[in-house]
Amino acid sequence: MRFSFTEDQLALREAVRDLLAKECPPEVVRAAWPEPDADGQGPGAGARSTPEQLAAVWHHLAEMGVLGLLVPEAHGGLGFDEVAAALVLEETGYVAVPHPVVETVCVAAPVLGDPAPDRSKVGWGEVAISGTVLDKSLDLRGPGGKADEVAFDRAALGTAAQLIGLSRRMLDLTVAYVIERKQFGVAIGSFQAVKHHLADARLQLEFAAPAVHRAAWSLATSDPNAARDVSMAKALASDCAHLVGRKALQCHGGIGYTVEYDLHLFLKRAWALEKLWGDAAWHRDRVGRALGV
C-alpha cells in the first residue's frame, strides 16, 4: 500500500505547473472568450492577451508531450498512465487552460494512438495540434455519447481532475482576497462566517482529491471497480467545485461578480465541467447501480 506518486509523476507535474504558470495566466484564458463589443463590454472584457499567446499554450503542451501523455512510447507518446494524467490535468484545471485538453489527452490521443490498425489511420499528434478539429470530428460529450466506455471513463476522470484544480484555484484566489480586503476596519478573512465558508470549501477538497487519484489508479490497473471509482470521483469533484465556487463568489462580494476580475474565468469553467461527461447525479446513480442500491 502506497497512496502517493512516483518521482517521475511528480517531476512531470512540476514541469507542467511551471510551464502553465508562465504561459497561461488569466489574460490568456480571457483571450479565448469573445472579443468585447464596441463599448468594450461583454464577458471577455478585461486584460486579455493576443490570439498568438493563446495558441502558444497548446503548442507548448504538445511540444512537451503532454497531449500524448497516455500514448505508449512506442507510438510516440510519453507512455504515462492515468495517475500521471490526473496530476497533470489538475494543473491544467488550476489555470483553466482554454483548449480541449481532456478531450485530447484522455480520448483522442489514446484512441488514435492505439496500435489496432482500424483506429490508427490518423496520427494522434496531428490531431492533437488542433483541439477544434478534434472536438467536431468526434461526438464524445456526455453520457450516452459514442466513445467506448474506457474512453468515456478516462474523460470523466480527466474532467474530475480539472475540477479539483479549478477548486484549488478558486480557493487560493479567495483566501488571498479575504486577507487583503478590509471592511469594518479589519480584513474580512477575520470574520468567523468567512472563515467557516472557506473551511467548508477546503474540507470538500480534502476528501474529493483522493477519490480522483484512486479512480486514476483503478483505470490504470483495469480494476473491476474502475467505472464505479471514476463515477465516485466525478460526483465528488463536481459537487466540490460547485460548493467551492459558491463560497468563493460569496466571500468576494461584488468584485467577484465582475468580468474584469479573474474569478469568473474559473467559476464558469467549473460550471461547465461540473455537468460535462455526466453530472454529479448521473454519476451518483452509476455508483448506486454498482453497489446494488
Binding site: Q41, G42, F184, G185, Q250, V259, E260, L267, W271, L276
Partner: protein, 391 residues
Amino acid sequence: MDLTWSEHEEAFRADVRGWLEANLAEWKAAHGGDVPSGDTREGFAIHLEWERRLFDARWAVVSWPEQYGGRDASLWEWLIFEEEYYRAGGPQRVTQNGIFLLAPSLFEFANDAQRDHVLTRMASGEDRWCQGWSEPNAGSDLASLTSKATRVDGGWRLNGQKTWTTRGAFCSHLFGLFRTDPEAERHRGLSYLLVPLDLEGITVRGFGRLDGDEGFAEVFFDDAFLPDDALPGGVVLGEVGAGWSVAMSTTSSERGLTLRSPGRFLATARRLIEGWQALPESERAERGDLRHRVIQAWMEAEAYQLQTLQTVTGTVEGRPAGAESSLVKLWWSELDVSLHETALDVLGPAALLDGPWAKGYEFSLSGPIYAGTNEVQRNVVAERVLGLPRK
C-alpha cells in the same frame, strides 16, 4: 382569517391580466420577439419603451398617488399586480432602482417641489435614476464611504468614486450618499444628494457583470459642481448631514418586499415545474432526487407568498415588521439560487451554455451579496430579532 380576495381585488387582477395580455406580446413582437437584456445599452432603450407603455396606462407605479401617475393601489393590489406581471412573463423593470429605492425616501423626506419634479419623470422613464451607495472600499461597510461634497457658493463640489451602480451607464441621474462634514466619522456627517449625471466633472464608465452584460457602472466625481438649483426644490434630500437615516429608510425597503415580490418566485417556480414536466417519463423516473428538489423549491416560493400575506396584514393593521425584513431578504435570495440551480439540473448541460435559466442563475447569485450580504443579514437577525450580544 380570510385568505380570499375581495370582488374589487379580483376585478383589479382581471384588469392587470387583460392589459398585459393585450400589450406584452405586442411589445415583444415589435422587437423581433427576442428582446435583449435591459442591462445592455440596446436592451435598455427597448425596455424604456415598455416602461413608457406601462406609465401611459398607469401600471408603472400602481401604489403611488394618482397625481404622480399611480393608482393609489393598496398593498394587496400591489401584490396582485406583481403576481400577474411575472406570471405573464413581464420583462425586468429597468426603472426599478428609482421607483423602489429612491421613491420611498422621496415620499418620506422630500419637499413638495422635489416630489413634483422627480416622481412623475421617474415613473415615465423620462429621468432614469441609479443608486450611488457603494464605493470601492465601502461595500458591506457602507458607513466607511469617503466620496465628498464640499459646500461652495451656490452648490456643492463633488469628489470621489461610486461603484456597482446598476445600469448606471444608461441613467440620467444618481442618488447617493456623500460626506458633507469631513470631520465627522462613520454614520455622521453624510448627506443624501440628488445628482444629474451630465454635470461637468462626472464620468460614468460601464463595466461587465458575470453574465456579460454591462450592468454595472463606476461613477467618478472630479471636482464636479452640483448647483443648488440643479433640481427644483434643491439637491439635498432631507436635512444636510442626515443622509444616513434617509438612506437607511431606503435600504430597508430594498431588503423587504418591494425589490423582490413573491410573485416573481411563484412564476419562476411554475416555470421550473413546467421544465420538469417536459422531461421524458423515463428520465423523470430516474431522477427522484431532483423531483423532490423541484417540489421543495415550489413550497419555498409558496411559503414566501404566505409569509408576505401575513406581514402585509400586520402592516395594514398597524403592526409594522422591524428587523424581520432581514429574514425576508435571506429567504428570497437563497430561494432564487435554489430555483435556478434546480432548473439547471433539470435541463442538463445544454441549458448551462445559454438561455434564460443560465442568465437567471448568474443573476440569482448576486442576491446573497447585494443589498447587504447574507452574512450581515444573519448578524442582524441574531442581534436584533433574537437579541444576541453584538460582541
